[in-house]
């Protein structure tokens, strides 16, 4: 439908154009002919006057003569007939009324001529000549008024004035018919000539219009082609991909700027060369040259209308990877190919980099996994080692515990028997035995103290010593303690002074251990001081946000050297080896004090000078940390 519509539109416009051309042409003919007749009529008028003057300039009536009537007739009548249509022909050329008027006037001029020549038969040819001239209009209709005028003229003058028209006095009344018949006879040919002429004119107009149309279409097609080319050139020039057009023999026809940049050839260098020679590495040219003819023959190939990757070569000889798509395009029936190519060096490089990165990551991942495994193994080993160490400590602790038990049992008997014997000796007043038995008892008790001390240290080291927290009044605890330790301190003729600050109040801690600490320190002080003073001071102290109870035991005894104070809290390191012999003791007392203080989150320190005395300061938190859950120990 749209096509037909368009065709219809085109043909109607061609027809309209043809009609316009025809109209313009006929109008032009009419105008030209009108002007021709304007001139012709003027000439006829003047010619008529001259002819009248020449044939009968004067009318003789005897000897007098006057200007012949015909001269006046030629001047006046000729003027009346000719002037108006001649003016119309000049002023309004081309109008139908003008040419009808002219046709009428021309025939009237013929009639005048015939009349002025006295009906001379030869002048009737003027009528035929005029008709022929009128046929210049190519309009058969002008012949109608002309013929009517001739016929009427012949009828009327034939009836009333035959001499004027036929040159005879009497004429057959049907003679006009013969004249009219000749006129019509000529008319027939003229009408045919007019119609043919018009038909030819019309044909010419049609052809011209068609030609014009064709020219226009061609021009449009040319413009379209030019535009299309400009468009595709613009597209190709900004395309990021290389676009190479080649003909069926593989010769480069077009080479876009991207291709210039990529391959290093200018378009003028590239065009006309075989694509294979310029852009395909030598070792692959064969495959390409095989593929192209196969495509041409079959119209299909693996290479067309799909993307693939191959290697290309630059002007400098550098080989690089390209992604290629080849599409067949036809131009005026000649097979052509568009090759689209993209340099994928960068892409390959980033793909390779990505692959390498991934590989590195995997390696790193593997290494990490391996490291994790090694670490896990190490942790396992460490755990085993730790368990072994713990087992060893526990075994040692258990060994000590059972050793303690085994030592205690005979010791129990020794002490009981020695006490029993001592009681018996007292009853029997055997003084020497009493002293000896006291030595056995003392040795037994020392051994017991030693066993107890070792056991306590062992428990602390094995982490089995726990705090039994209870709230007790410090003052009361000290009073009770003094009952036990007082006699020990005063033994060497020492004075015992106690200063307990009023605000000390109660503390929440392990009562037994606190007491043990003070007992050890006070008995030590008493032991190493003679005829001196032992002082116990108790105060509260703030240290940071924590409240401590500070116990200070000062004596005026033997004191210690700097070196001795540094080792005093280690087990079995009394001030020196002679000390034990001289003063007794297990060598564990201060070690236990130190461990107990640590266990209770407190501290112990000492200041001492030889022969001047020592001062031990113990600080214990007013509130001990909550007791841990005691470890269950088997019997």
């Amino acid at each position: 439908m749209p096509l037909q519509q368009k065709e219809g539109h085109v043909s109607s416009s061609v027809e309209a154009r043809a009609a316009a051309l025809f109209a313009a042409h006929t109008h032009d003919i009419h105008k030209r002919t009108d002007r021709l007749f304007a001139g012709l009529m003027a000439l006829q008028w003047i010619g008529g006057i001259l002819f009248a003057l020449w044939v009968s300039p004067l009318a003789w009536a005897g000897s007098t003569s006057s200007t012949h009537i015909h001269v006046w007739a030629a001047v006046v009548l000729g003027g009346l007939i000719s002037l108006f249509p001649a003016l119309l022909g000049l002023l309004r050329p081309g109008l139908p009324s003008t040419r009808y008027t002219i046709a009428t006037a021309q025939m009237l001029m013929g009639a005048l001529l015939i009349h002025l020549t006295g009906g001379r038969i030869e002048t009737h040819f003027h009528v035929f000549g005029s008709l022929a001239f009128l046929a210049f209009y190519r309009d058969w209709r002008v012949l109608v008024p002309a013929t009517v005028v001739v016929a009427l003229d012949h009828i009327l003058r034939g009836l009333f004035w035959p001499q004027s028209v036929y040159g005879v006095m009497v004429a057959n009344q049907w003679r006009w018919l013969e004249h009219a018949a000749w006129v019509i006879f000529e008319d027939v040919f003229l009408v045919v000539a007019c119609l043919r002429s018009m038909a030819e004119l019309r044909e010419t107009a049609d052809r011209t219009a068609a030609l014009e149309q064709e020219v226009r279409i061609r021009q449009q097609a040319e413009i379209d082609a030019r535009n299309s080319e400009a468009r595709s050139d613009a597209i190709l020039s900004v395309a990021l991909d290389c676009v190479v057009l080649m003909d069926e023999s593989g010769r480069i026809v077009q080479f876009n700027p991207a291709a210039e940049r990529t391959f290093g050839y200018t378009a003028s260098e590239a065009v006309g060369h075989q694509l294979a020679d310029l852009m395909i590495p030598a070792d692959q040219r064969g495959a390409y040259q095989n593929a192209m003819p196969r495509y041409l023959k079959t119209g299909e190939a693996a290479g067309t209308n799909q993307r693939f990757e191959l290697t290309a070569v630059r002007k400098g000889g550098e080989i690089f990877p390209v992604e290629v798509a080849i599409a067949p395009i036809s131009s005026d029936g000649a097979a052509m190919f568009a090759g689209y190519m993209r340099d994928i060096t960068e892409r390959r490089r980033s793909e390779a980099a990505l692959a390498e990165y991934t590989r590195d990551l995997e390696v790193a991942h593997d290494t990490q996994r391996q490291n994790s495994r090694q670490l896990a193994t190490l942790v396992d080993q460490l755990r085993i080692t730790q368990r072994r160490a713990e087992d060893a400590t526990r075994a040692k602790s258990d060994f000590l515990a059972s050793m303690s038990h085994e030592l205690r049992t005979p010791l129990n008997a020794i002490i009981l028997y020695s006490e029993l014997l001592q009681e018996n000796a007292e009853d029997g007043d055997a003084k020497q035995s009493i002293m000896d038995l006291q030595k056995i008892q003392s040795a037994g008790k020392h051994l017991l103290a030693l066993i107890n001390g070792i056991l306590d240290l062992s428990k602390i080291e094995a982490g089995k010593m726990t705090l039994a927290r209870e709230t007790f009044d410090v003052r009361e605890m000290i009073d009770e303690l003094l009952d036990t330790v007082g006699p020990l301190v005063r033994k060497n003729n020492n004075a015992l002074k106690v200063h307990c600050a009023g605000d000390v109040g109660a503390m929440s801690s392990d009562l037994m251990k606190t007491r043990q600490i003070l007992l050890n320190l006070l008995s030590n002080a008493g032991k190493f001081t003679s005829n001196g003073v032992v002082t116990l001071e108790v105060v509260r102290r703030m240290e940071g946000a924590q409240i401590f109870v500070e116990f200070t035991v000062t004596d005026t005894g033997v004191g210690m050297t700097e070196e001795q104070t540094q080792r005093i809290f280690d087990a079995f390191t009394q001030a020196d080896v002679t000390t034990t012999r001289k003063y007794g003791g297990t060598g564990l007392g201060l070690a236990l004090v130190s461990r107990f203080c640590e266990l209770m989150n407190g501290s112990v320190s000492v200041v001492s000078r030889p022969d001047e005395g020592s001062r031990f300061t113990v600080r214990l938190p007013l509130e001990a940390a909550p007791a841990e859950v005691p470890a269950v120990i088997g019997a």
Binding site: A401, T409, L411, N412, A413, L416, L420, N452, P630, A635
Partner: protein, 131 residues
């Protein structure tokens, strides 16, 4: 010296020397002493003789001190008898376990005899947990 003469104490101890020495010392202080050398014997002697107080060792053959203590404290005939548990294991948790088994007091060996006498007198005066 014979503060509570006539009171009968059952000494349960597997070590012969310890048992003998302790018994003789108690006797010196005016107590009547009965002896048992394992837990099972201790239970039967206590049931038949109904002593006023029992000194119970823990590490005993046949029936250990804890079980013996538990049985005695579970028996209506003997549960009123105060028991002082003695142990050569000077661990605090032995003390707790002994008291949990029904013992009225605890002491470690070697025995501090004067202190032990004090505890015995205290319990015989009717201060035991079972009274």
């Amino acid at each position: 010296m014979d503060v509570r003469s006539g009171a009968t104490i059952l000494v349960v101890e597997d070590n012969e020397a310890s048992r003998d020495a302790l018994s003789r010392r108690l006797e010196r202080h005016g107590y009547r002493v009965m002896q048992a050398f394992d837990g099972s014997q201790a239970v039967s002697v206590a049931r038949t003789s109904l002593p006023d107080l029992i000194l119970m060792d823990l590490g005993l053959p046949v029936l250990d001190g804890w079980d013996a203590t538990r049985q005695l404290k579970a028996d209506t005939r003997t549960k009123h008898i105060p028991i002082i548990v003695l142990s050569a294991h000077a661990m605090t948790n032995h003390r707790d376990m002994a008291l949990a088994a029904g013992g009225d007091d605890f002491d470690t060996k070697p025995v501090r005899f004067q202190a032990l006498l004090g505890k015995i007198e205290w319990l015989l005066a009717g201060n035991g947990a079972a009274s």
